[in-house]
Structures are given as C-alpha cells and as structure tokens.
Amino acid sequence: MEQHLPLIWAVLIATAVFLYVVMDGFDLGIGILFPWFPEKDERDVMVNSVAPMWDGNETWLVLGGAGLYAVFPLAYATIFPALYMPLILMLLALIFRGVSFEMRFKAHNARSQLWWDRAFCWGSYVAGFCQGIALGALVQGIRVENRAYAGGWWDWLTPFSLLTGLALLVGYGLLGACWLIWRTEGALARKARRHAWLLGIGTLACIAAISLIMPFLQSAFRERWLALPWMLYAAPVPVLLAVLAGLFFRAIPATEAREASAPHDPTGRNFRWRDGAPFLCVLGWFFLSYTGLGISLWPNIVPPSVSIWEASASPASQKFLLVGAAVLIPIILSYTAYVYWLFRGKVRVGAGYH
C-alpha cells in the first residue's frame, strides 16, 4: 500500500485538476464568448446557465492547490514560486470574475452593468490565458535546486507558454460554446453552433501545433512519442482524438436538425442528452490532450527533475488524507451531479435563476 500512495495521489490530484479545467473551463468560456454576444438578454441567459454551479467548479482549483500542499509539498513549494506572476494574475482575474457574477445582476443601471460585464469578460480572458501559460511553463520545465525554485522571475514567459495560453483560451471558448448548444435554444444556440465550428477547428489546430512542438522541447518527450515501445502505448491517444473530432463535427448539425424537428418542451426540464453530444466530444478532446500531457511528463510532477516520489509528503500524511478523500470525493461527486441534474434543461430568454 505505502509504495502506491504517491501514485494514487498523483492520479487523484490530476483528476482534480482535470475536473477543474473542464468544469471551470466552460464557465470561463462563457465569459470568453461575451464579445460575440453583446445583447443583454443573451448575456443574462449565458450567465444564468452557469450561475448555480460556478462556485462549485472553482472549488476544484482550491482542491488542486490545497491537495498539492498536502501530498506533494515539494511540488507546491517549487511550482508556485516559479509561476508567481501568472498565478497571481490568475487569482486577481478570478476575483473580478467571481464578484461580477453576483454584481452584474444587481447593477441598477445599464452603465454599471456594462462595467461588470467587462470585468466578467476580461477576468475570464486573463484567468484562462494565465492558466494556459502556467501549464506551458510547467511542461517546459522548472529549475529546482536544494528543494527550492532556482530560476528567474520571467522564466515562465516563452513563445511556447504563450501558445499554450492561447490554446487554452480557444479551448475554453469551445467548451463554453458547446455548453450553450446544450443549455440554450433558438437564436442563441444557433449562434453558439457557428462559434463552436470555428473554435473547434481552432482548438484542433492548437492541439496539433502543441503536439508537434512538444517532442522538441525535451528528449524525454521525444522518446515517449516517437520511439518504441512507448510509441505503441501512446498511439491510441491521437487516434481516439481523430475519432472524437469526426463525431464532434457531425454532432453539431444534428443538434440543429433536432431543434427544428423536436416538439417544443414547455417545461424546459428535459435533459436532452443528445444536445450535449458536442460538449461531451470536447470533454473527450480535453481528456485525451490531458492524457497526452501525462504520458509526456510521467513520472515527473515538476519536470524535468522532480518525480512524484521525490515530491511526496510522508506516507503518514498521504494516508491520513486518503482516508478522507476515499469517503468524501464520491460524496462530493454525487451531490455535484445532483446540483447539475437539478438545474438541467434549457435556460430561456426572460428566464433566469437570478
């Protein structure tokens, strides 16, 4: 058991970060799409569609941070100073965003609402971009000496990290658009479908570009993807991605056709799984890209030099928290699912939670 603890925790932390990325991803995506949805009515619907969940979504980010501190303290103590500026900027952006969720609905005139909308939109952009930069900088490697970060203050800023920043913005925008296809109807959903097409192509282009650059960043990555036997294990990832890409581009017109033919749902409470198909496809893209990253980085948690075993807290600490996590994470997942289920269905113009 004890020798497996770091592995179990690596999977758990990776899961928490992944859940954060896709769950806060779609609600950040709503903010990223704001410039293309200037009308107050459509913005109200967009924000209403995520208002009951955003807080829970963001909690996964806190779990990622606190979890790292608890079970991989060395990673926490080296990654965070290395990514000082993007992380702080991200936090500040999340502050703007989180507060404007409540405030934009309570603003008493159009002008102040416009300012809260801007705070929401720019907060989403900066948060998403900084998260992408942080990811790129982590993949490129963090210099660690004597259990401390040994690099400079601008090491995180590279062409590659800017590319990953951009890629995550496009990907979050796509998640947001697919969420809207699922959760809205009429003109808003039509618009979301158009954006989803373009953002889908953009996201695939970003995934391709990053995948092509990655092997040249570190020789370890090259061996994973371009040398046997690792190549065999890794090969399903791009293949599955291609399959899901095909499904995605067929699923979008299908939602359009269904909306035209389906009988009107007066309660708006039908779950409409199939309208969620584009969203689920994109979740799959994210999962596969994330798995690809995992394959590249394994077994390091702070590339290129610190492995999950070296960064691990003592077995006593990992075990103590694991007991709780084993009981609590299933409970958390079930009530989170319950909340999503509760607020299911199409959100309509002139119809909101606020």
Binding site: T59, L63, A66, Y69, M85, L92, G98, F105, Y149
Partner: protein, 481 residues
C-alpha cells in the same frame, strides 16, 4: 536596475499576507454567522408559517450571496499565496498542515459551494424542505471550514504531535494531537462566537437604522429583537471564553501575553495598564492609566500572582511590533465590553417593552453595527502579531519561511492586490451598503427574482403556494407582478 528603495521581500510578503488575510476574513467573519442566522430564519418560517421570517430571510439572503462570493474569491488567494510567497514554510509544514487544509476543502468548501446554488436559486425548484436542508448544509459547511482552518492556525501557535527531520521538515506523529492541539478548542470557540457576534451587530445595526425611520416595520423589529437576544446572551459568554483563551495563551505563548499587557518585567501583583504606550527602544511602557494588581488577578486569579515580562527573553525572541499587539488587544477588549453592555441594556429595555422605539438605544446599536467586525479583526491582529517572530511558534521563524522571491515581484503583486481589492471589494461593499439602506419589505424579493426574468419551466403559482405553509402566498411572484 537596482531596487534598493524597496523594502525587503520578507517585509513585502508579510505585508501582503497581512493585507490579503485581513481583507479575506472580513467576509467569513460575517458569513459564518449569517449562514446560521439564515438557517434559523428559514426554520422559524417553516415552523411558524409566519411570512415575516421569509421576508427577513430573503432580505439577508441577497446580502449573503454577495458577501459569500467575496469571501470565496479572496479565500482562493490564500490557498495559493502560501505557495507563491511562503514556499519554505509550505515545504516544511506541508506534511502536517497540508492534510488539515485538505480536509477543509473536502469536507467544507465543496459542501458550501455545492449547496449554495440551491440555497440561492433553488427554492422553487426543490421545494421548501430540500431547500431548508441546503441552507443548513451551507451553514454547517461554514462551521466545518472554521474547524479545520482554525485547527491549522492553532497548530502554528501551539504545535503538537510532530517530529522534525534533520532538514527542518515537520513530520506528523499523532494526528489527534495535531488537530486538537492545545490552543485549538479555545481559538475555535472564541472565533466562532466572535463571528456570531459580528453578524448579530451588523443585523442589529441595519435593523436599528430602519427602526429609526419606521419603528412599526415588523421585519425590522424581528431582526432587531433576534440580534439583541444574540448580543445579550453571547457577548457576555464571549468575555468568559476570551478569558479562557487568554489563560491558554499565557501558558503556551507568555511573550504574546506580555506584549498584550505591555509588561516588560516579570513581576508579582502586576497592574492592568488601561492606557499607555509601549516603547520598544526604551523597553518600557509609558503608562497613562493603570489599575493596581488587576492584571495579576485576571491572568493568575491571585492578587499577587506572577506574570511574565517581555524582558524574560532576548529581544530577538520578542514580538516584533509590541505597540500593535498592545493596542489591537485594547480595541478588541474595549469593543467586547461595549457589546456586552449593549446586550445587557437590551434586556432591560425589552423587559420594559421599549426595545424597538428607544431612540438613543437604536442610535447606539446603529453606531455599534461594525463593532463585531472591528473586534474580530483586532483580535486576529493581536494573536498574529503577537506570535511573531515565528510562523510556527518557537520552531520556524518568519524570516526563514519566505519564498526565495525578489522584492520587485512581491512589491508588484502587492500593489496589484491592493488596487484590485479596493476596486472590486470596494464596489461589493458599497453595494452591500445599498442593500442595507433599503428597508425590508413585505413580500421581500429573493435573489432569484431580482430580474424581470424567471427560471424556465417553473410554474411560479403552484410552486409558491406550496412554499408558504398556512397559505402565506404573498411571496408569489406571479401575484406580485
């Protein structure tokens, strides 16, 4: 470029932590109590069926939504700042404190965040019983959160259940001893009680403001009555809890108590210095007003008991800012006494049947609105400044805890935090005051009806007929519009 004009990275990081944590805690100090208050209000509404409780509930639910959001986003900052600015501390204490904070996220944050959506937007979707359950879960979540974070904080004051590796890292030996470390029960009781008082006085202040304009408003009267019961019962209890907490501090952190008292010499029968100014250079306190022997009596419960002095230890072991500890403590105790006095006066007025229309008392309650919040903040300044120069008391110095960061990076982020906090939270707090300034109406709107829009698929009429037992259907939005 040289950056010599900047303070050291350590000082900037300390100031940044002080600034962000002080700002952050204003919100939980208020929402911990508010969540419980809301749960009580909803319970009373369900139990009695009286519409006034639902109105008061909805009035404060709007406030809660905003205050809680501000608490969440300022709290995320805290969980990252330990890594960015205090990475050595993080590496040394991660094995012990990390799991404690991990439990806070798993047991409290998800619970609060998950059910907050239902609490704010779900009354019509889930019906009143499940909604009440959600409200209770949010309230319980705030208390669980307080449990874990205060355990972690207390461990830094009174570390227990650990061993230390040669490289300076703390290792867990006994989780029970770590979580229930010696100062934890006292700090938990003192802080949660303080949070309840904070809420009681804000609610009381807002109610007093509206009673001064309209003493017949039934909702204002209900709020005021409930707030004053809280003040009358809890404020005196808080003084007793505070005394126990102080005795615990005397046992484990005598230097902090010496700084609070402004005592430099170890002595018997020490006086209680009411007013004075500690002088760190001269190592003495210039006394303006003191009461003989009272300090000894309070701290040792004996007339000529022995109390510690700052000079018991060399200067580098003493709190780094004695006047701050000394004054913050006086602010807290002064306000605590004032709150208890107001609470006791309210009992007398209530007995005379004049609680809701005695104007001088209402003005006093209005003036005392922020008293709890200020007292809680002053209390935290006392205990945190008083534990310096250590982050883990007696074991890890603050100067050795800081990240290997450059002053310009910390300085720039500090500036950004100050700007953003004042803009965003300034706007949020301004908005809270606007909510406070509106009198609580009959058929108070919940947050879900702030807009002229309505949740899809909701047939408001029937849903809300069920919402009010005994036919209290005034909250029916369909009828209102």
């Amino acid at each position: 470029m040289t950056w010599d004009f900047l303070p050291s990275a350590l000082d900037l990081a300390r100031f940044q932590f002080a600034f962000t944590i002080t700002f952050h805690f204003l919100f939980p100090a208020f929402t911990i109590g508010l969540a419980s208050f809301l749960a009580v209000l909803e319970a009373l509404w369900l139990y009695t069926g009286r519409a006034v409780y639902l109105d008061v509930f909805r009035y404060w639910l709007k406030v809660f939504a905003i205050a809680f959001a501000m608490g969440v986003v300022s709290g995320v900052v805290m969980s990252y700042q330990i890594g960015t600015n205090w990475s050595v501390f993080a590496d040394r204490t991660g094995n012990v404190l990390g799991p404690v904070m991990g439990y806070e996220v798993l047991t409290a944050f998800f619970l609060e965040a998950g059910f907050l959506g239902i609490m704010l937007f779900g009354l019509e979707r889930v019906g009143k019983k499940l909604h009440f359950a959600a409200t209770c879960l949010v309230a319980i979540g705030t208390l669980i959160s307080a449990f874990w974070i205060l355990s972690a904080n207390s461990w830094m004051h009174t570390p227990a259940g650990y061993s230390i590796l040669p490289d300076g890292r703390f290792m867990p030996e006994d989780w029970w001893a770590i979580v229930f470390n010696p100062s934890f029960p006292f700090r938990l009781a003192h802080t949660v009680t303080g949070a309840y008082l904070t809420t009681a006085f804000i609610v009381g202040g807002v109610a007093a403001f509206h009673l001064l304009r309209d003493s017949r408003n039934e909702r204002s009267r209900t709020m005021f009555s409930m707030a004053m019961w809280m003040a009358a019962i809890v404020a005196p209890v808080q003084i007793v809890i505070g005394d126990f907490h102080g005795l615990n501090t005397l046992e484990h952190q005598p230097q902090k108590v010496a700084a609070m008292e402004g005592h430099w010499e170890r002595q018997r029968g020490a006086p209680l210095i009411l007013l004075g100014q500690p002088d760190m250079a001269a190592e003495e306190t210039h006394v303006l007003l003191e009461i003989p022997r009272l300090s000894a009596l309070i701290l040792t419960h004996e007339w000529d008991g022995e109390t510690p002095g700052l000079k018991d230890v060399p200067p580098e072991e003493r709190p780094t800012n004695v006047p701050l500890v000394f004054w913050a403590f006086r602010v807290m105790v002064g306000l605590g006494t004032a709150m208890a006095t107001l609470g006791l006066l309210s009992l007398w007025l209530r007995w005379r049947g004049r609680l809701h229309d005695t104007r001088w008392f209402l003005r006093a309650a209005l003036l005392m609105g922020p008293a709890g919040l200020v007292a809680v903040t002053a209390g935290w300044i006392t205990t945190e400044a008083g534990r310096q120069p250590y982050t883990v008391h007696g074991l890890l110095r603050t100067a050795d805890s800081v990240s290997p960061i450059a002053a310009p990076a910390v300085g720039a982020s500090l500036l950004a935090f100050i700007l953003v906090y004042f803009v965003v939270f300034g706007a949020g707090i301004w908005f809270l005051f606007r909510l406070f300034s509106q009198p609580p109406h009959m058929a108070e709107e919940g947050p879900e009806e702030m807009e002229p829009i309505r949740t899809s698929g909701i047939t408001p009429g029937p849903a809300m007929h069920h919402a009010g037992p005994h036919g209290a259907t005034h909250g029916d939005p369909a009828k209102r519009h």
